[in-house]
Symmetry: C2
Amino acid sequence: MIAETAREKITESGLKFTHQRMVVYNALQVSADHPTAEMVFAKVKEANPSISLGTVYKTLENFVKAGLLQKFTDDSGVMRFDPMLETHSHLYCTATQQIKDYKNPELELLLKKYLQANQIEDFEVEEVSLVIKGKTK
Amino acid sequence: MIAETAREKITESGLKFTHQRMVVYNALQVSADHPTAEMVFAKVKEANPSISLGTVYKTLENFVKAGLLQKFTDDSGVMRFDPMLETHSHLYCTATQQIKDYKNPELELLLKKYLQANQIEDFEVEEVSLVIKGKTK
DNA sequence: TTCTCAAACAGGAATAATTCTTATCTGATA
DNA sequence: TATCAGATAAGAATTATTCCTGTTTGAGAA
């Protein structure tokens, strides 16, 4: 049951379990796109009409800190939240501004190996991600 | 002479040459970091104290459209402008939030070749960039 | 179960980056 | 040098995000 999974994930990550956190968590698990805080807010209101936008922002930030979500900023400067935790790249369509995940373990391995073999001077790599810009056909 | 180069580049790109555009152009050519619009504004005021912030924003945007600059957004959602035109990657320090260019033609070639050999379904790649997060030693 | 309290929440005010608006000015061309 | 489309200055407006304050709630103790 989805409520149980959410509860487990949230408490496991060291956060107090609340109804608001549960609905935000669930909203992100089912979202295929990379929602903004406003998009999460709109979706979450269906399940909890009295939630406030500030709570959504704070909850998303807490989830990022707790390692449940990834956050990045799109080209127009808006924060996007991403339920996937494995490293993956993003396809950014320059025509429609849509963002899609692009998972390619082979490519990730290639990059990881390259950066291990060729250390960057004075820099310790933690994470690598690829932004591929172009157009959806 | 730097004024001549600026004039050429600006008119070549199809934009009308103005004093404001020249000082913005020159400010970016000499900046090693990836300035924000505010940083450009501060620098440009030395050469032209009466320039307005709105003009700086508009000019930077025009330069991006004309292909003289690259634009991206940093993790805190602020726009950064980048005088380099060749594809290159960014090193993002998670401790200090500093951004540095990382140019590595070998790595770029590797990526380009990989993406040519392994087409992404329904997507036409225009540009690839790597965001490498980590810590400066 | 009820009590207690640190943490979370709602609601809205405040802030910061960016865009827009309008009246004025300027560069390129004739 | 006169013309005019496009560029600029100044500041108002907008948008995303953070902050503040009083109220509520979840989790553990008694």
